[in-house]
Symmetry: C2
Subunit: 352 residues, 2 copies
């Protein structure tokens, strides 16, 4: 079957109105559960609507109300499993509430980010969820915005807009991961990070690393601080190959994302080194990559479900004109232990 009845479907509110023997205004009221109408006409109209698979033209609606039921989601890179999970969850929740999502990838480019945001504004979106947005925009002043995964310091400046921010406790995550390695006996832990990006989560995770080392009375060693140009498996792999070639001793790798951890595992494998026998590794995000990578990556789990739920609730609240109770949410993280940090022998003693 192709699609049901072959009867030409009505497409405008006017036609529906005619079929139901009422005026367009009444149909509108019924659709939007606005104003008053009799139980009787409601049923009749609803029936015609159903019968005709009628869906109101959202351009007209958006034009009229300057508030289409569309929410813009701006995300650096949908290819990153962490973001993909978050976006999927978010989108499902919003669609359930009758909202469509314009999903925009910035590909980590600030220029694209700005263009996307302008384009979303031009499209009269009801609200926006900015994932790892890099800055504040003047054009966002009177649009509800939820920032997710965003550096706090930037956010402070936007409080005036009554926007909201949600992030994981990234420092705690960095701390937990590093701590796990230290507890397993590592004493020379390389860190794969990317501070050059505008993403301050990286910085927070690095702070967690520092904090853990400090607790153990260990110094920060310059040659173990591997700062990358971008968050990528390929680049991380190259960095670890470089570290190995340099002859620098190390017994653990703390990566600030699973994708980078994966690169590390690839590099080690290429040089015939085993995880965790020779080097222990931790990732961040607890993505599918972590589950599958090498002997399984121990990884910091962010609560994506809660993030999505909170984001959806908050943006919808704000769209309805309510002021959220809180403007800042820091979500707890947890460590998921896998093979990559199993203690298999006297690690520390051997490499130092």
């Amino acid at each position: 079957m192709l699609g049901g009845s072959a009867v030409p479907k009505a497409k405008s509110i006017k036609e529906i109105a005619e079929l139901a023997g009422v005026s367009a205004a009444t149909v509108s009221r019924i659709i939007n559960k606005n104003g008053r109408f009799s139980r009787e006409t409601e049923e009749r109209v609803l029936h015609v609507i159903q019968q005709n698979d009628y869906v109101p033209n959202s351009n007209a609606r958006g034009l009229r109300t300057s508030r289409a039921r569309v929410i813009g989601i701006v995300v650096p890179d949908i290819t990153n499993p962490h973001f993909a999970n978050l976006v999927l969850d978010l989108e499902m929740r919003l669609f359930q509430q009758g909202y469509s999502c314009l999903i925009c990838n910035t590909n980590e480019s600030q220029e694209l980010e700005k263009k996307h945001i302008q384009s979303l504004v031009a499209q009269n979106v009801s609200g926006m969820v900015l994932i790892s947005g890099t800055r504040n925009y003047a054009e966002l002043e009177d649009i509800p915005v939820v920032y997710v995964d965003r550096p706090a310091h930037t956010f402070v400046r936007s409080l005036e807009n009554a926007s909201v921010m949600i992030e994981s406790d990234n420092q705690k995550g960095g701390y937990l991961a590093t701590r796990e390695l230290l507890d397993a006996g590592c004493r020379r832990i390389a860190i794969l990070k990317c501070l050059t990006s505008e993403d301050d989560n990286q910085l927070a995770r690095y702070r967690g690393y520092q904090q853990a080392l400090k607790e153990y009375g260990l110094p920060l060693e310059r040659e173990l601080l591997l700062d990358q140009k971008a968050v990528s498996t390929r680049i991380a792999r190259a960095a670890i190959l470089g570290l190995l070639d340099s002859g620098t001793q190390f017994d653990g790798i703390m990566a600030t994302t699973d994708t980078m951890a994966a690169g590390a595992v690839l590099a080690l494998r290429e040089r015939g080194l085993y995880v965790p026998e020779d080097v222990l590794v931790t990732g961040f995000d607890d993505s599918a990559l972590a589950e599958v990578c090498g002997p399984g990556l121990t990884s910091v789990r962010q609560d994506v479900g809660q993030m999505a739920e909170l984001s959806a609730d908050l943006i919808l609240q704000m769209i309805e004109g309510k002021t959220p109770e809180r403007f800042y949410y820091r979500l707890p993280v947890s460590l998921v232990r896998r093979g990559s940090t199993k203690i298999v022998r006297q690690q520390a003693a051997m490499m130092e």
Copy 2:
């Protein structure tokens, strides 16, 4: 800096027109490079537009032309790396051409798919790219549609709509993967597939498997045909654990997706079996998972870049009213060899 000048920006074409000392119509013509206007006024208007960060209201435009510069992308699950890559690539290309993308996840639900498609139609999208859509829809009759990754037989019925279909040579892919295992000495190859879904790619890949076995004069063995309820790492893992527990002999696993292959690797690892020493494995999609999984998964690579490019080109052509030269594209696939199919010893002889 927050966002530049504090001057209140003009927001409507009328205001821009006033500022430039022309009529709205002229501004419209210039924006759309439509009709005639003098070089002089063009410059003046463009300058005012730039100055004011003016972006035309796309609801109004969409309402008027019933063709907003928005393209709907419907995808089963953005969480699947293969789809994520495709969507990202596609979106970037389209945005470059001035189109925004409404990305909709169906989460493999036909009901959601229908709702999304209706919603997109209601939003007057200029065109749609349906990735692994499950059926034809009457409401799509006069909208340009590109089907990607879609079973051919369904497509045939939609040729009348002048819609276009792009898919990889899935059977060839299934054949290549199976052939690789056979060449490496496997003789009892389990296949992880999911025929129950509406996705006929699965069927095509399975046909490739059959073809390869036939070429080698091997029979199809019922107990090696593992048909799953869904495409998922978790479910695939359970299936392989079940197979192992059943005592069935096998020396290779051909999975119709990388995600399922990953599940297989997890299961084998749990039972202390090594890849490729004990069992060889192949995946499909050549995703990040394949690179990182176990010893690296040999996987069938689809040309996502070409898919995206073709999809973008075709949908834009169709939107502009051109009729594409061809209505069906089958893209070549290739095998990417990794550790999971390395020959490490006399495989076949040992297990049979």
